[in-house]
Subunit: 334 residues, 2 copies
Amino acid sequence: MKIKKLKPLLIKIFKKHGLSNVHSTISTNALINAELVGAYGHGLSRLKMYCDRINKKVINIKPKIKVKNISRSISHIDADNSIGFVAADIGIKKAIENANKTGIGLVAIKNSGHYGLSGYYAEQAVKKKLVTMIFTNAPPAIAPHGAVKRLFGTNPICFGTPSGSKIPFILDTSISMINRGKIRVAAKYNQKIPKGVALDKFGNPTVDAKKALKGVQLPIAGFKGSGLAWMVDILSGVLTGGNHAGKVKDPFDDFSGPQNIGHLFITFKTNLFVKNFTNRIKDNIKTIKKLPKIKGIKEIMYPGQNKYIRLQMNSKKDIYISEIIKKDLKLLKS
Amino acid sequence: MKIKKLKPLLIKIFKKHGLSNVHSTISTNALINAELVGAYGHGLSRLKMYCDRINKKVINIKPKIKVKNISRSISHIDADNSIGFVAADIGIKKAIENANKTGIGLVAIKNSGHYGLSGYYAEQAVKKKLVTMIFTNAPPAIAPHGAVKRLFGTNPICFGTPSGSKIPFILDTSISMINRGKIRVAAKYNQKIPKGVALDKFGNPTVDAKKALKGVQLPIAGFKGSGLAWMVDILSGVLTGGNHAGKVKDPFDDFSGPQNIGHLFITFKTNLFVKNFTNRIKDNIKTIKKLPKIKGIKEIMYPGQNKYIRLQMNSKKDIYISEIIKKDLKLLKS
């Protein structure tokens, strides 16, 4: 489907479910961006889930979002269980504003929901010539090191910086071996998942996506990954006033209440400590790209580069709509 | 050797090499702490290296350390190639001061050197009831994803927070499969290293510590770990004015100039966004500790807990001095 046809369709669907025109547009742009960068687990495959949560009144369609400025650098946002995209959009804009004023911004958000890709918000800050770190927690997926029950979310760590070129440096990496969204997509299409990324609910290794969703995802690097996931839970949940310690509800399976996810955005100017940041980062990337490469590797890519290339390519094409998504769209617009 | 005997001996050695009494004491405390927490790769095994670097005038024994306050929250320190312990000690104290004043502190340091364990400085902030994140780069050890040559350091990510108990939550994790310090210790004692953590200089897997030091260490989780190491290089090197992109000299092998390492310290108050942080973090840890455990695991430990227990135990005992370290001490004090 052409993007210019898909976009008004998604806006129409969100508006039909009660979101304002502005909130529908913000949510639509985030979903389409996820499709374009190839992060299908955060794209159209989630549309029905968002609409279901609105129908069950666990996403608030008329949120009274409160922004409290603690200082000129620090703000706290109560998102009143708005759709996550809207909370994150307000949050990153506030973090950008604070960093522009004082050099550094720290913005915590509570009572939010799943907001898609952290990298999408990081890009906004990077376009304003800021460095950013973004943390969010997520529903239980990973067992803490030593435990047999999932508790941490896939809890991404996201870091963005201007790169000195038009392609931003955006690292957006979940602490699980693979993203939960990818397992969800595999389950939706009855595909297998790679070995070594998940256990079933009995603690046995599995390549069955549906069994993996009921079991445990494995963290990267054992106790190191488990520790990083714990750090993200504290930064985005304990500190912000959001849910934490496994209490974030699964958006697909649990409609008993809002998610109350927390996010934390840190932003700062690139030129606080050096005058020639652009030259320095260009030199950094150039030096690394020049290294001798593994056989078969043409170019050493920096984080975000592949996504940017996919975005450029896919923006010129129609967006592929699978039969399952077609059904979702038909159901949701009628 | 008894700690109360070792401490004046180390201070004497540093003073004999030209450090001031204060700088000698700061450096001695950091080295003894590393021994007590069991991080032998950052302890006495490095003493001779520091003295060698002082002798070769690539550590500055009379540094003119400049602290520039960019704002009440943000400071930049030029460590004038002091011994790293001293630069980091000033840096974390400044970051604590800034966070106490404004809620958040951001301190960048350039022209510093190897400072031992990031967690040692994180502890100082946590004792003052602050959350902290600490980044530093290090000499080339890890190949960027896709490259066959080492460039990134083991580039630790460190995060600390008050835990609501006397044992702080301190995650201090290198982005390599194992710490370079551990490989150095293994090489010093002709011990083997585990499989799958390093390649020799020809790109073949090796368990020989000496061959590993000449080859490449492997990052955790492939491109994810490589991306995290890159992030740390940018945060601590590119941004601060420190060396980056593989230009940090190996302190053991390269005496052609100072290391010019960069560090970045972020600190903030725990009660910026919630009034009951202590209860929240206690609840978080308690919930996770209560999870069903893998067979043979008695307790789920949070990051820093094991180190704290070792510190308590080892503080009551003599510090073990190997024959090699005995020789070092004899040589350095005479």
